[in-house]
Amino acid sequence: MQNWMEWAVAFFLLLGGSFVLIGSIGLSRMPDFFMRLHGPTKATTLGMGGILLGSIFYFSLQQSISVHELLITIFLLITAPISAHMLIKTALHHQLKAIERTRGERELKQGQQQGSPDTKTAMPESKQSKES
């Protein structure tokens, strides 16, 4: 294998691994379920895309062109939004608590009180830091 292809595979693997790690850090550190859903659904899917791209490069250069990994990539890209949708529906059904900073909650309350919401100055700042 040429040297520059090895660099490309290493680059894609590192990119994917760091995105997977960032997604899991988001999952474990975020204060709220509705925020926690962001990490695994976006960052982890992108990281899997990076790792699979590195794998495609590696095996395409060793043997013939290999497209096995594209199956996994397409499957993950299709199923990640579906499972996120099911999870968020379950969370709404169970009426999980959201902190004040979460977008929908505040706008929902304001929309019930008055007509058009102004999101910037609605809640006092001290309450936000206490909640988190």
Binding site: G16, L21, S24, P40, F75
Partner: protein, 89 residues
Amino acid sequence: MLENVIFLVFGMISLALLLNLWRLLIGPSLPDRILALDTMFINSIALIILYGLLMGSPLYFEAALLIAMLGFVSTVAVCKFLLRGDIIE
């Protein structure tokens, strides 16, 4: 050089798996735990693909595809059960 990078990425994904396990253990609500389990499935797919890359054999992709389908179906089934009280209506 590539072997060192693969081992580094192994370490990263293992750390990610440990963080997911932490969320799975302390998760305050049930959807948190389902989400952590789903993320653990996806990270284990990444581990299997990296192992196949290290061994240099393309045989591991079938296992990865199988685990991907298993994870998706189990997540949707548990969500459906929590949502409707029944999986197949």
